[in-house]
Symmetry: C2
Amino acid sequence: MTRFALTIEFDGTPFFGLQRQKHGPSVQQSIEDALTRVTGEKAVLHSAGRTDTGVHALGMVSHVDLVKNIAPFRLMEALNAHLRPDPIAVIACRETEPEWHARFSCIGRRYLYRIVNRRAPLTLARNRAWQVAHDLDHEAMHRAAQALCGRHDFTTFRSVHCQAADPVKTLDRLDVVRARNDFGEEIHIHAEARSFLHHQVRSMVGCLKLVGAGSWREEQLAEALAAKDRSKLGLNAPPQGLYFVEARYSDDPQGD
Amino acid sequence: MTRFALTIEFDGTPFFGLQRQKHGPSVQQSIEDALTRVTGEKAVLHSAGRTDTGVHALGMVSHVDLVKNIAPFRLMEALNAHLRPDPIAVIACRETEPEWHARFSCIGRRYLYRIVNRRAPLTLARNRAWQVAHDLDHEAMHRAAQALCGRHDFTTFRSVHCQAADPVKTLDRLDVVRARNDFGEEIHIHAEARSFLHHQVRSMVGCLKLVGAGSWREEQLAEALAAKDRSKLGLNAPPQGLYFVEARYSDDPQGD
């Protein structure tokens, strides 16, 4: 039995999220089906994060155990061939120690949220970003965001369906920046933590948008956090702007 | 009668190009239909450039003459409402002098070509870039590209369907760079000229790819140019990597 770590990129638009669902297609099901076609084995995919319907990944990390003797490069190529035409790609593949675990060894997760701040509807970025028509003050959003950094009870920013035992998390980074490239100007929100609660990033982004639009005072974000009350949440940002960017691991295969 | 200049962004994937076609949907037809629904008029759209099936635009400039008395902002909003669900957006709209012409007043056109240089298939960038699996030497591509800059007979890099009277054009810029962003690393090719021949950018990019892959010596690009012979073309790059980025105008409404 060999454990393989896979780095996965996907367009979340056609999927009911990463994890397997009874009621519709999932990234996990597509990859597990491709694994079966490549190896004949029924393997289970374990991933660093869970993602909702419509959320994308640039560098999700997953692992799988296989009996078949296959080189990582060959496995990657075969999976990509069998994943077509689903918008899922294995962009890296390596063998790991059997103790290494894509979810439990992960010591850091990074998300990106894209807002296109303009009146015109999206074309090339449709299903890839949140279009917000009224002007957003990204500097006010960034200042307000700093109140969320550090160790807090994030109950306000947690889905009622969240299964985490503890709502206390340490948020290492929540930066709001204007990013300009050939495709126009966007507001990017970068979030990093060891781990996140279900809907935490989208809930934080939704409230930051209220601050940026002037509907919330900057201090209201800290007040919502302190309330530890989901009903104080201003807005949950839509899924299509959210990207799982990166999972970090220590050199120690057991995690830090 | 008022002339309006429109700046247009579109995802070219579902269209048979910008200009109206008998055999399928076009960006021009969608916009002209929306104009009719907004104004009741049968207006004709004139554009700075033509684009092929699958080619995108970030800032195409077009103009239209309307009898209806309407503010530019209202026209833009109404067009965007009527263009849904087509992936076309009017991102700017202004009144112009009646002598100003989106095509004939244009003194500069800029294109971007995106190559994703990796083995894995595209997911989020599918239909948005050319995936090239073997390693490309972008520095060799850039060096070779400089031989095409300046005033030349571009017959080699011209479609057999090109309707231009003269194959002599002045290429102002052909830069090949590695661009890194949150979505990964890409090779971007920037091309600027007063005007281009039909397929010129894609033909130049196709040959540059051969240089980058080592299939062509760097000098072969200059040799192909000097041959003035379409049969010396190495490769026409596919349309989905090409973006019409910008049309430039002098302050003089008649052009320069």
